[in-house]
Amino acid sequence: MLSVVVSVRDAASTLAEVLAAICSSDLPRESYEVIVVDAASTDGSVAIAARYADTVVRLGGRESGPAYARNRGAELARGAVLAFVDGDVVVGRDTLPRMLRTLDERPDIDAVSASHADNSGAQNFVSQYWNLLLRFGEERHAARCAQFAPGCGAVRRNAFFSAGMYDEWRFATACLESVELGERLLGKGYGVLLSSELKVTHLKRWDLGSVFREVWFRSRLLARSLGYSRMSAAAPSDVVFTLSRTLTPAVALLAILMLAAAFVPTPDALAKGGVGLLVLFLTNMPVHRFYASARGLGFALMSAPLHAFVQIVAGVALCIGWILRDVFGDVSPDATTQAYSEVGHEIWPPVPRRL
């Protein structure tokens, strides 16, 4: 049996489409169960979930993140394979069956996840830019790596529990928790596959603010919790972070050039800045070429300044993450949660578990 765990929070605008797509899978209905874990939504997500799900879990209280919600769903799951689907991700009719087939046919693979479809569900420019950026990393490095994609992934039950489930202690927000799980699965000797053939559509609408916030959190968490070098060794950087492979040399080169330019006896600051941006553009040429082939030259040119700005945000966040790690250490929940955990306080919803 397959257990599909869908974690949601205020996802009423997308949830019906997501659950309808799961229930339209080319699988006999009795061969899978749908478990929706609602993290204290206030928008009617529970009512929508009830229309499709076999089990609905209502988590009251504070938002504890998708890692926490997925773990609660997994604890109730009866299936030998657990699939995790986000509340804004639409699977194809054959996505879940093909995942099951992959796990059936390849005993060396214990977790398989789908990559982003070429088109995002939202049609605005920023959503398309972000969707393609993630797709870029997935397409270049689709293979065995520590990437258990957050949008849609399936994992054998024994592997999931043996690896310790999602890290709900450190990942209280939706950010890189699946990458961390993928790395842990790999570390325990399980096979993790990112498939470029399996594609799912992400419906989330991104705007400039949400993209920069995501980049900020990703970069900071990467530096502070996951460890930049460790993750780069476990999985291709393009996949984990999309930007990080080109980021470090780009920023380093830019800094050297700017420093050198500062000593050039010419007052033309525009020329110095232009040289810097040109270097940044050239180091990101593979990304721009990918955009041009996917959406045309116009889209690639329009995305170039946004991409440059995203890299600057990422660079600053990485530095902040490193500083925070050195000063305060790894992220951890608030003092109350830590105290409850320390004394083993039993309560529903349960206190986040430490790995």
Partner: protein, 144 residues
């Protein structure tokens, strides 16, 4: 039938046979159709105090011409001597023949009646609004 048009009656009675009220009975009284929904919702809100274990609910959904085997429900209920409690809600449309058997199986059965023609999805949603559980399992009957 839209969700807004669905009128339901919640009958909470532990031991006596459920009282089946025609949905249109509300049209002739001063009561609102939603009046029947109030106790359960208030009940849920009143239970916000911390608990050690999750409260569980089981919803049995029976659209028209569907039945459910009491045994199927029984396997979802805690075994005798088990401390765990489960609220069981039967949501059905039109007339159902499974009520009496379920009533015998489940002492504290809540019955939610909706007009004939109410879809499975609407029944599930209506029952969900009544379920006090943190973990709610939905079980659908089989066609006759």
């Amino acid at each position: 039938m839209s969700r807004a048009e669905v009128e339901v009656t919640l009958v909470q009675d532990s031991f006596s046979a459920p009282i089946l009220m025609a949905a249109d009975a509300f049209k002739h009284s001063s009561a609102s159709p939603n009046d029947g929904l109030v106790p359960a919702i208030a009940n849920r809100q009143g239970q916000r105090r911390p608990r050690r274990t999750p409260r569980k609910s089981l919803i049995v959904v029976l659209p028209e011409n569907h039945i459910v085997s009491p045994d199927l429900v029984a396997v979802r209920l805690p075994a005798e001597g088990d401390d765990e409690e489960i609220d069981v809600i039967l949501a059905y449309a039109g007339q159902s023949t499974s009520i009496a058997a379920l009533q015998r199986q489940v002492g504290d059965l809540r019955v939610l009646q909706a007009p004939a023609g109410t879809s499975t999805e609407d029944l599930r949603e209506l029952a969900m609004m009544q379920a006090p559980g943190d973990i709610v399992t939905l079980l659908c009957g089989t066609p006759v």
